[in-house]
């Protein structure tokens, strides 16, 4: 038999590694940080999920310590020693032990079975009643469209917006969702788990936020199902408002944008004709209130969704971000976007087919610097 070559206490080094691993995992449990974390819930749904996670994490940590402990103990205790020439007992097994370590895990797992099943039904319950805010969500490559179906303006139009969802605090919000193209997934970790947004299907997700967010710190969320080129930039924001602030916001959003009559904004409005091939805006002009761009719908399972070709721009100036929650809504970013959209965000506008309703991004319209400037003035004015 070949003698062992080096045998200098590897068990000690293993203990260090084990310690590091345990510490690392504990760190994972405690380091709830960042605004998109699932570990600092801002509402009861994310809270109940987090409680379940904490419970299972603690149990897993205990099992981890026991099993790794056994492994490392065996390594230290039963390592080959130079002075020991004896051979080990050739033990082939022990049926009682086998039964024990089959049954015990079953019991442990069964004990968390009940909270899990209850948790599923809790989280998946669709809230009902007049107090529930109903929002319909349509996923698009690569942006989000929100329609508040119960919030109707004087002109009969519902509230439609994009990429920034406003909800009142301490209110159940029922999202009814579908997709206009491929599968997306709606995920705002501090409020709820994710839910896929599937073409030809309707899915639901409940949101409930405890407290209003500061105006400049909405909860970030983003698409969680890979949906092609700009999946990473299909983000959104959830603004939580007090009921009064929310009502104010609704009032503002339901009003049409004003048609500018003079100055840079008016010049911008002339250039805006390029945009309305895809983008809609509800504008109050001399002829009354009208939708200047295309308005499209999508019917899935008896539910009618707004399904625009591109984000509604009526209140663009009121949004914090653009490009699906990705860029600051300021002159600098807008100028770059209008000069060449794919320079900021990867898209495939060369494959657009407006007739077929397939839009894969905004093309470069080769706008002049002046047009760009005027358009920005127009859009920033539409609060």
């Amino acid at each position: 038999m070949k003698p062992t070559q080096r045998n200098r206490e590897p068990a000690g080094r293993f203990r260090v590694v084990a310690l590091v691993a345990v510490l690392g995992l504990s760190l994972a449990a405690c380091s709830g940080s960042g605004p998109q974390t699932a570990l600092n819930p801002e509402g009861p749904i994310a809270d109940s999920i987090n409680d379940l996670w904490q419970l299972v994490f603690i149990m897993a940590t205990v099992v981890f310590i026991i099993v790794q402990g056994g492994l490392f103990y065996a390594m230290g205790r039963f390592r080959e020693r130079k002075d020991d020439e004896s051979e080990p007992v050739q033990l082939h097994g022990n049926t009682k032990l086998e039964i024990a370590w089959t049954i015990i895990p079953v019991v442990i797992l069964a004990s968390i079975g009940y909270p899990i099943v209850r948790g599923i039904f809790d989280v998946r319950t669709i809230p009902e009643g007049p107090d529930v805010l109903q929002v319909q969500v349509t996923g698009h490559q690569w942006w989000w469209e929100f329609e508040y179906v119960d919030l109707v303006g004087d002109d009969g139009r519902t509230l439609v917006t994009a990429n920034e969802l406003y909800i009142p605090e301490r209110t159940d919000v029922n999202l009814t969702m579908t997709s206009a193209d491929v599968i997306h997934s709606f995920w705002v970790p501090v409020l709820a788990g994710k839910r896929d947004v599937v073409p030809n299907r309707v899915t639901n997700l409940t949101l409930h936020a405890n407290n209003a967010t500061p105006p400049d710190q909405p909860h970030p969320g983003q698409c969680a199902e890979y949906c092609g080129l700009a999946h990473a930039d299909m983000r959104f924001k959830v603004h939580v408002r007090t009921q009064a602030d929310f009502d104010n916001w609704v009032e503002g959003q339901l009003a049409p944008a004003a048609e500018p009559t003079e100055g840079a904004a008016a010049d911008g409005y002339a250039a805006f004709t390029t945009c309305i091939a895809c983008h809609n805006a509800t504008v109050a002009g001399s002829d009354g209130v009208e939708d200047v761009g295309p308005v499209r719908t999508l019917e899935v399972d008896g539910v009618t969704f707004t399904s625009s070709l591109a984000p509604d721009l009526t209140h663009f100036g009121s949004r914090m971000t653009f490009g699906a929650g990705t860029f600051e809504n300021d002159r600098e970013h807008l100028a770059r976007w209008l000069a060449n959209p794919v320079d900021l965000k990867p898209m495939r506008p060369e494959l657009n087919d407006i007739e077929a309703g397939r839009i894969l991004g905004m093309p470069n319209f080769n706008l002049s610097d002046e047009d760009i400037d005027n358009l920005i003035t127009l859009l920033e004015g539409w609060k």
């Binding site: 999920i49 897993a60 032990l97």
Partner: protein, 627 residues
């Protein structure tokens, strides 16, 4: 037919490239699987390093979104289908016949065909990078994204390449099953075959049952893309693809991990100098994992909207699959308990496997907590989980197998100093890379995103992960150098360097073409150990006096090399397997570029027919001679 020339009696091992192209020797085919997979491992590893570079900082600019999406798709596809699966096939090819006391697999030419088809499928998939773009729809190819852009051939490469890999795997699996069930040496009952070979059988059944489902899905995807059907897109059902894919995709996970578990089940007893604790329980838990693996596919779809009842059912099923997995881990520790543990390199990697797999297994249990999975699904937490299972588990297990069996392949050891560097760098690099991903996922970082914004707190742990990934890369450069250098210059190992337990250690290193001079008669599990050791009254092993040290020559009790060889019938080499496989590969390229490609499909079909007819009509010869 009696052919009586002495040349036939000792099948020589010819050399040269032609001998490799026409080989039907399971050991050479195993080697070729292994080498192909190793090359692919470095390709996919390079892709991973590019991905890590891109994600080091917020708003990374190393890669474009388009390049990133191709790279993460191909990293997954390559690592799963062209690295880990074929490495498993490499070990199975080499060791199933040696483990069961056979001279080759049941269908040696079909075995060669499986390899060549695998190789051509690999070429098809990897060549896509330079022929119009690599697949960019994720390795999971979710419809209707995968059927959306017919302008690009990328997902056609996916549909065709994966389909052909599947055909190759199904054939190889049928071969392994036939081999184990019909070609075992006398006395080698099913409950005496080594655990690795048992796991190979389970894996083969998993593949035979799951790959056809995937194949159907791929056909439908191909039809949607090329012939205007609407299985998934248009008015079709996108979830249909998910069900078909994961009905394959989940058993596939066990296809990847069970061979590694088998390898570790071989290594731990040898280096503990004890038999495997609870052999039947380890075998049956492997079979149980195989069965249960078909009942948990929808845990990949918790967020898709299957309804609470289905989610609860699949959640409980997923939890229960932890039980047989736990049984294996306890039995490995039980094997070490009371043993005499030698920390040689194969054992270090095996212990690394057990330790890391426990972490991956436990994070897997957290996925069965369905509401919790609503948060973790498609986040970096999942990326961390499956790398702990497939890298911490699978790759550690296979590397352990490489250190363990390298002496059998070459007659030489891999260098121990370099091996220790490899082990510690890989262990540290691995944990630095993938442990932080748990934290990133829980803090809301989704998978498959080519960039992330500032202010989300993702930078620090991503930087740690990038550093770790390059340490892993370094460790594998050392490994590659060790493999290349030790093949010719390593320390001589002899035939039985580890005091092994199974039949492969009873023959010379490297083994002769015909494996066994005399087919062994088997009386025990670990039969070779029992030829070397008896037990005393306390049950302790006692070396039998009639067998000398570590170099137990190939049981030379036959007293000569020619007394039993008259009934030795070795399959003859043939080039028809590679012809048939090349024909199918040609057809594959044609299908990618329809409708122009129909011409290429036709040419490929003719080549395939030539291969198949030639194969069928090939006269049976002996000793490597051709008519």
């Amino acid at each position: 037919m009696v052919i009586d020339t002495s040349k036939d009696l000792v099948p020589a091992r010819p050399t040269g490239i032609w001998s490799w192209i026409t080989t039907v020797d399971h050991k050479r085919i195993g080697m070729m699987y292994g080498i192909t997979a190793l090359v692919a491992f470095f390709v996919a590893g390079l892709q991973a390093l590019l991905i890590r570079l891109q994600l080091t900082n917020a708003n990374g600019t190393v890669l474009s979104a388009d390049a990133y999406n191709q790279l993460f798709t191909m990293h997954g596809l390559t690592m799963l289908l062209i690295v880990v699966m074929p490495v498993g096939a490499a070990f199975m090819n080499y060791f199933i016949p040696l483990h069961i006391g056979a001279r080759d697999v049941a269908f040696p030419r079909a075995n060669a065909f499986s390899f060549w088809l695998f190789l051509f499928s690999t070429v098809i998939l990897l060549s896509s990078f330079v022929l119009g773009g690599a697949p960019d729809g994720g390795w999971f190819g979710y419809a209707p994204l995968s059927t959306q852009l017919e302008e690009y051939v990328r997902m056609d490469y996916y549909a065709v390449g994966a389909q052909l890999l599947g055909v190759a795997s199904i054939m190889a699996s049928a071969n392994f099953i036939a081999t184990v069930f019909t070609m075992r040496a006398p006395g080698m009952s099913l409950m005496r075959i080594p655990v690795f070979t048992w796991m190979a059988v389970v894996v083969s059944f998993l593949l035979i049952f799951s790959l056809p489902i995937f194949g159907v899905g791929l056909f439908q995807m191909f039809f949607d893309r090329n012939f205007g059907t609407q299985f998934f897109g248009g008015g079709g059902d996108p979830l249909l693809w998910q069900h078909l894919f994961w009905l394959f995709g989940h058993p596939e996970v066990y296809v990847l991990i069970l061979p590694a578990m088998g390898i570790v089940s071989e290594i731990i007893p040898v280096f503990s100098r004890k038999p495997l604790f609870g052999y039947p329980f380890v075998v049956f838990s492997g079979i149980a994992i195989g069965f249960m693996g078909f009942g948990v596919w929808a845990h990949h779809m918790y967020t898709a909207g299957l309804g609470p009842v289905a989610e609860a059912g699949f959640g409980v099923a997923t939890m229960m699959i932890a039980v047989p997995t736990g049984v294996k881990i306890f039995n490995w520790i039980g094997t070490m308990w009371g043993g005499k543990i030698r920390f040689e390199l194969p054992m270090l990697f095996s212990i690394g496997f057990v330790s890391l797999f426990v972490i991956g297994g436990l994070s897997g249990v957290t996925h069965s907590v369905v509401p919790s999975d609503y948060q973790q699904h498609d986040s970096y937490y999942v990326v961390a989980h499956f790398h702990y299972v497939l890298f911490g588990g699978g790759v550690f297990g296979f590397v352990a197998g490489a250190y363990y069996w390298f002496p059998k392949w070459t007659g030489r050891f891999l260098d121990k100093r370099q091996g220790l560097w490899h082990f510690w760098l890989m262990l540290i690099g691995f944990n630095l890379t993938f442990a932080p991903m748990h934290i990133l996922g829980l803090n809301g970082m989704p998978r498959r995103t080519y960039r992330y914004g500032e202010g989300l707190g993702f930078e620090f742990w991503n930087q740690v992960a990038t550093v770790g990934s390059f340490i892993i890369g370094l460790s594998f450069l050392i490994f590659a150098w060790n493999l290349i250098r030790s093949r010719k210059h390593g320390e001589l190992a002899g035939d039985d360097p580890w005091d092994g337990r199974t039949l492969e250690w009873s023959i010379s290193s490297p083994p002769p073409v015909h494996n066994f001079d005399e087919i062994p008669v088997v009386e025990h599990v670990d039969d070779y150990w029992h030829r070397k050791y008896a037990t005393d009254e306390e049950g302790r092993a006692v070396r039998m006096p009639d067998v000398s040290g570590g170099t137990v020559a190939a049981d030379t009790d036959t007293g000569g090399d020619d007394s039993h060889e008259e009934d030795m019938h070795m399959p003859s080499p043939s080039y028809y397997p590679i012809v048939a496989a090349a024909g199918i590969g040609t057809m594959g390229y044609g299908f990618v570029y329809l409708p122009v490609g129909w011409i290429v499909v036709g040419i490929g079909a003719l080549i395939t027919m030539w291969g198949v007819f030639g194969w069928s009509l090939e006269p049976v010869t002996r000793g490597g001679e051709h008519e």
